[in-house]
């Protein structure tokens, strides 16, 4: 099974094998291209020797022979190079964690732990909402209290005004005044009775 080297791909932004494949294909293309150039140069040089018996077919066979040889070596050497690069350069050792994954080291949360954390957050949100609406209700009550307090104080001021009016007209305390009057009236009644009895 091929190791997808996904972690390396996360870091490099490309899969190492793809990178190596791209390099290999490029090298191979270059080798082919350069061989074609070599062959065309040799054919052109041969044009300069009309009497020579070397046919283009022979040159082509030579080219193929050399190319085959080079290709075999390219493949052998390249697979060695690939092995070394994939092992030592384009790889991330098992014990290494990429910086962006530090969270996994710091917070190895299980599913249950995460759900518990999310529940706690929901709970806090509900609590906050409840507190916020409680705050509104309390403030509304404060406003209500102001109005009621003003009303009650108005009534008390009313009483004060009334009592001040009485005081200004010499009657500080109606109750005492009436009690005094009643007393006097009773005393008058007694006197009146006395007088009547004596006069009889």
């Amino acid at each position: 099974s091929v190791n997808p080297m996904a972690y390396e791909a996360q870091f490099f932004g490309f899969t190492p094998q793809t990178c190596m494949l791209r390099i290999y294909i490029a090298f191979q293309d270059y080798l082919f291209e350069v061989m074609l150039v070599v062959e065309s140069v040799i054919l052109k040089k041969l044009d300069g020797f009309p009497g020579c018996k070397i046919s283009p077919l022979q040159i082509r066979k030579s080219t193929e022979k050399f190319l085959l040889f080079m290709k075999e070596h390219l493949d052998k050497l390249f697979s060695k190079m690939e092995e070394v690069l994939l092992q030592l350069v384009l790889n991330i050792p098992k014990n290494v964690l990429l910086p962006e994954d530090k969270v996994h080291e710091q917070y190895p949360y299980s599913k249950e732990q995460l759900e518990a954390l999310q529940d706690e957050i929901h709970q806090l949100q509900k609590q906050y909402r409840a507190e916020a609406s409680a705050g509104q209700a309390l403030r509304a009550e404060l406003e209500e209290q102001k109005a009621v307090q003003a009303e009650l104080e108005k009534i008390l001021q009313w009483f004060d005004g009334l009592e001040n009016t009485c005081r200004e007209h010499g009657t500080g305390n109606f109750k005492e005044s009436f009690a005094f009057l009643t007393q006097n009236a009773k005393r008058l009644q007694d006197v009146l009775k006395d007088v009547e009895e004596k006069s009889k």
């Binding site: 270059y30 030579s62 350069v89 290494v96 507190e131």
Partner: protein, 174 residues
């Protein structure tokens, strides 16, 4: 110190190139193009030299292009640093499980923890704020109760007057 990845990469590629060139030696080349070599040995040599230098140049150019595209120098250096930092660590490190909801979990935790502490903070502030408002509300209620009592007291005092005055009127009526 062990060579860094960038240096190792360069060394490995250079070695590859050396060996490839060594494999494709002039003898081998002349051997393959024997008929032409016999006809024109000097020309064969110069064609071979050009072949080798062209091949080397193309391969080096390709490698440079790959390095530029992948920003490999920088990337290799930063990977060296990351590996260096982890050198005291033996056990295998975390790796993506390939199950998104699994892997996203830990990445969410810092944000959730931050969100939780923010909520705890604003909740605490709100509770404190409400505690103060509740105190004012309770004080307001006491004040209103007190006013009510005062009004009741005044009312009773005035009612007491009417009792007195009834007695007075009774007396007069007698």
């Amino acid at each position: 110190a062990a060579p860094g990845r960038a240096q190792m990469f360069a060394t490995v590629v250079d070695t590859f190139l050396e060996k490839l060139v060594a494999a494709g030696s002039y003898q081998r080349f002349a051997n393959c193009y024997r008929c032409f070599y016999k006809l024109q040995p000097e020309m064969t040599r110069s064609i071979y030299d050009q072949f080798i230098s062209q091949l080397q140049a193309s391969i080096k150019e390709e490698i440079q292009e790959v390095k530029n595209e992948g920003n490999l120098e920088t990337v290799f250096n930063s990977l060296d640093k990351i590996v260096e930092e982890a050198k005291n660590r033996e056990e295998p490190a975390w790796r993506p499980s390939g199950i998104p909801e699994e892997d996203i979990r830990s990445a969410m935790v810092p944000y959730l923890l931050k969100h939780r502490s923010y909520l705890q903070k604003i909740l605490k502030e709100k509770e404190e704020e409400n505690r103060k408002v509740a105190e004012s509300v309770l004080a307001g209620r006491d004040r209103i109760a007190e006013l009510q009592q005062q009004i009741q007291a005044r009312k009773h005092a005035w009612q007491a007057i009417s009792k007195e005055q009834r007695e007075l009127v009774m007396t007069f009526k007698e």
